[in-house]
């Protein structure tokens, strides 16, 4: 160990006794972005938490930036508010100076987890343990037969066919369903397979599905998140795929991030993007032209992890796709890009707050009187469905992937 290195380790030791975790190289741009905050407060007018719980309970993105700009930050003092952020990224989008509040929130959560773990809400500890034990954010089914039964029931209700899982080591596309579609909303995984089969895509699934690591990033366990990212990187490399196709918004943003940080040659695309960019507008149009069925009115919800953490363009892609399906008429609630409240792990420990955020969507979509609402994300779908149920609003919510698969297989 060189003198310099030794001195550095000594300082680290002192800092850790003082419960200070120094900024990493990757965190420095985030910290620098906070220095750009001009205190205008535009973020407060758009943060979905403020109308839901008020500035008394949650000081808003500006509140977080202002606290951080004071030195030295005592991160743990933010523990009562930092777990309320749904991580939608609206503040970063409207900010005149690109202050990266969603990343700041993860950074603070990371420090609280390291130095004051008692302040982390219990369900988040449980989530962390679950991922450590199973590699998945949801507890897997004990009996594989029960899992298959659940899947078959869902497929029967939706009228979707079942294709056998394809697992090869020489495909062009890796389909990555994510934990939720793997273990809970299995119809989404199957629907994606229906779409890929329909367009004769040369795809494979992973032999063993592992979490993308987003929940860990959100609760501040970046070490375990990095392990998962490294593992997935090896798999993607050894498979040699050209595309990694996803159906979950959170997975899309997380994998897109890993693809850059871990230098993947494979391109990460949500299935909606894949259809438009790779299958091609013409082929999709020609195929969906044949879609028939009774007319239905559909409301769209745009997931934050797609439009704000990846690209707003995906919102356009969704509209484009739905417009091709003749029986479908899209109705606009005016709040289609408003956070569903399910992000940032808030729904794990505080459903009251996450439901208060969802209320905006539930009320606006409920008032439209549509046949169903769709979102290209299992988390948004579950959040909207549950919140509507708890609020006593009768509303059918389905994943966009499922809707497309239904029209493809209904020919």
């Amino acid at each position: 160990m060189s003198d310099e290195e030794e001195a550095y380790q000594f300082v680290l030791g002192t800092l850790s006794r003082e419960r200070i975790v120094p900024y990493s190289e990757a965190e420095l741009p985030i910290v620098k972005s906070v220095e750009q905050c001009i205190n205008c407060g535009v973020c407060l007018n758009h943060c979905p938490l403020i109308p839901a719980v008020g500035v008394m309970r949650f000081p808003g993105p500006r509140g977080i930036a202002v606290r951080l700009s004071r030195s030295p930050p005592e991160f743990w003092t933010d523990a009562d508010v930092i777990y309320l952020c749904t991580g939608c990224g609206t503040c970063r989008e409207v900010c005149p100076n690109d202050v990266d509040i969603p990343s700041v929130v993860n950074m603070i959560r990371k420090r609280i987890l390291r130095t004051m773990p008692d302040l982390v809400p219990l369900p988040l500890h449980q989530l962390q343990e679950r991922v450590r034990e199973y590699g998945l954010a949801f507890e897997p089914w004990e009996d594989p037969e029960d899992k298959a039964d659940s899947r078959d029931m869902r497929l029967e209700r939706l009228g979707l066919p079942l294709f056998e899982d394809r697992i090869t080591d020489h495909a062009e596309v890796l389909y990555y369903p994510g934990c939720q579609a793997e273990e809970r909303a299995q119809e989404i995984r199957e629907a994606a397979k229906v779409i890929l089969e329909h367009f004769r895509v040369d795809y494979t699934l992973l032999e063993e599905m592992r979490c993308c690591g987003l929940p860990l990033e959100l609760l501040g366990d970046d070490e375990q998140a990095e392990e998962l990212a490294g593992r997935l990187t090896e798999q993607v490399r050894s498979l040699g795929v050209e595309y990694v196709v996803t159906t979950c918004a959170g997975c899309t943003s997380r994998l897109s991030e890993i693809a850059v940080s871990h230098h993947w040659s494979a391109k990460v695309l949500h299935i909606v993007e894949y259809l438009r960019e790779v299958i091609g507008e013409e082929r999709v149009r020609d195929t969906l032209r044949a879609a028939t069925g009774p007319p239905e009115a559909v409301a769209v919800h745009q997931p934050c992890h797609l439009i704000r953490h990846v690209s707003r363009n995906i919102g356009d892609d969704m509209e484009w796709l739905l417009d091709l399906i003749a029986p479908v008429t899209v109705k606009h609630s005016g709040v289609e890009d408003s956070c569903c409240g399910g992000g940032g792990l808030v729904n794990h420990h505080d459903t009251k707050t996450s439901d208060a955020v969802t209320r905006v969507n539930v009320e606006a979509i409920g008032a439209l009187g549509v046949d169903r609402a769709v979102a290209p994300c299992p988390l948004c779908v579950a959040q909207l469905e549950n919140a509507a149920f708890r609020a006593g609003v009768d509303m059918d919510v389905e994943d966009l992937t499922v809707l497309v698969a239904q029209y493809l297989s209904g020919e």
């Binding site: 001009i38 407060g41 989008e93 900010c95 005149p96 953490h309």
Partner: protein, 456 residues
């Protein structure tokens, strides 16, 4: 990803969105690339066309006359330039006034279709109230801010209302400032009072933000709570005009005002917004709705990072979002990236730069100031009628709003500039910020549409 569009607008504030709507009006396809909210969203929500002539201490009484005078004596002002673009120097001042007036008429109509009622015209300056109880000259107001008879009626009783927990408006300070203003001008009401009321269902929250209250006043329950609290006070004081902080609804202030006025039986007026401004956000949202409802493509969260030039013309720009990039090709481009808040002009110790194309930066008199430290362009005294030079710096253009280089030649044939990116006007002292944005946005959109049609 590669997409095509007839016109690309860079910047999504007042200037950019107006330019987009004008091009959409002309039947073209338009993509607006916007990074975040700029000065429009933080504005007071009123649209100043011209409050003071440069260097003047007395306000402009009739904006049209003010613009006319300005166009005669200030050759580099954007209002002057757009007039010169349509006619020769002898008649250009009339042309400037006509263009300002046309832009306003067009805007009032379009923004009303998008659900925001704007009132006012170039023939009369309006006098809205701020949260401090001070009064400022402006031209166009959201209907909820119109003071109407309040500023002239000596027999009126004005009641400034503070809301408990909201620090934005202190009714005691505001009423005394307003009262002083009335005395100094010799006009307006003789009785000005203040009060603080509490909104029942928000009483548990000791600190409130204006946006929470605005959301609350969008509901019937919220309005009822406010009127229940106010009725006895209005009756006791005989108030004819109630002045509220800028919280009258998130999307539309019209409905909230009408319902409050009916319940209270007097005029209800909202003050100008302060950052984080609810009326500013309301204006921004209405502008965005206007463009989207006309079929425009609004690409939020995208920063333009690269562009391609062929034969002195911009052919495409590449914008990056968090994890994707998109290349948009077009026949004409509008640059409406704002100044220091919007980020179009960046200043640091090395000088002032135009952020995107590296265009030279000039001051109001067309002196090159790119190498000047911004602090050298400020005056020692903070408040003066001439203001600080730095606020009038920006991109220099020809009379068609195309940027020019140091030699005065047009840099790109198909790039048109609008709003705060422009040099030549000092919004801070003139009170002309959103007005120049609106009018030059309208002009730039018109030129961009014409350019596209010529190429077609």
């Amino acid at each position: 990803m590669q997409v095509e569009s007839d016109v690309v607008v860079i910047g999504g504030g007042m200037a950019g969105l107006v330019a987009a709507a004008v091009a959409l009006d002309a039947g073209l396809s338009v993509t607006v690339v916007t990074r975040g909210h700029g000065a429009t969203a933080s504005s007071s929500g009123a649209i100043d066309i011209l409050g003071y002539l440069p260097g003047a201490v007395l306000p402009v009484e009739i904006p049209a006359d003010g613009v006319h005078t300005l166009a005669m004596f200030h050759p580099w002002h954007p209002y002057t330039l757009i007039g010169l673009g349509t006619t020769d120097a002898g008649r250009s001042a009339d042309a400037s006034v006509a263009q300002v007036s046309d832009a306003i008429d067009w805007f009032r109509d379009r923004i009303s279709s998008a659900g925001l009622e704007i009132s006012g015209s170039v023939s009369e300056t309006q006098w809205p109230v701020s949260v401090l109880g001070t009064v400022k000259p402006t031209t166009l107001l959201q209907s909820s801010m119109v003071t109407g008879s309040m500023s002239t009626d000596a027999d009126a009783t004005v009641l400034f209302v503070g809301l408990r927990g909201l620090p934005d408006l202190n009714p005691r300070a505001a009423s005394s400032a307003y009262s002083e203003w009335c005395q100094s001008t010799g006009e307006g009401p003789h009785r000005v009072v203040g009060t603080v009321v509490e909104l029942r269902s928000l009483s548990q929250r000791q600190a409130l933000s204006s946006i929470e209250i605005a959301h609350h006043l969008d509901t019937d329950a919220g309005r009822t709570e406010l009127t229940d609290a106010l009725v006895p006070i209005v009756n006791n004081t005989g108030a004819t005009h109630v002045v509220l902080p800028p919280v009258m609804g998130v999307v539309d202030s019209h409905e909230a005002r009408e319902s409050l006025e009916t319940a209270l039986g007097c005029r209800v007026i909202e003050t100008l917004g302060v950052p984080p401004s609810v009326p500013g956000s309301r204006l921004q949202a209405a502008l965005e709705r206007m463009v989207v409802s006309m079929g425009g493509r609004l690409l939020k969260g995208h920063t333009v990072q690269d562009h391609r030039v062929t034969d002195g013309r911009i052919t495409e720009v590449t914008a990056r979002s968090r994890r994707r990039s998109v290349t948009v090709s077009a026949s004409a481009f509008v640059l409406a990236t704002g100044k220091f808040v919007g980020g179009g002009i960046v200043g640091d110790e090395t000088g002032l730069r135009e952020f995107l194309f590296g265009l030279p930066v000039f001051d109001a008199q067309r002196y090159l100031v790119g190498d000047e430290r911004p602090s050298h362009l400020t005056s020692v005294r903070s408040v003066t009628p001439t203001g600080h030079r730095v606020f009038a710096c920006g991109v220099g253009t020809d009379t068609m709003l195309r940027p020019v280089g140091v030699d005065g030649d047009v840099v790109y044939e198909n790039l048109f500039c609008a709003g705060a990116i422009l040099a030549g006007y000092n919004y801070q002292t003139e009170k002309s910020g959103l007005g120049v944005a609106l009018v030059t946005g309208h002009t730039a959109g018109t030129y961009a549409a014409r350019e596209t049609k010529e190429v077609m």
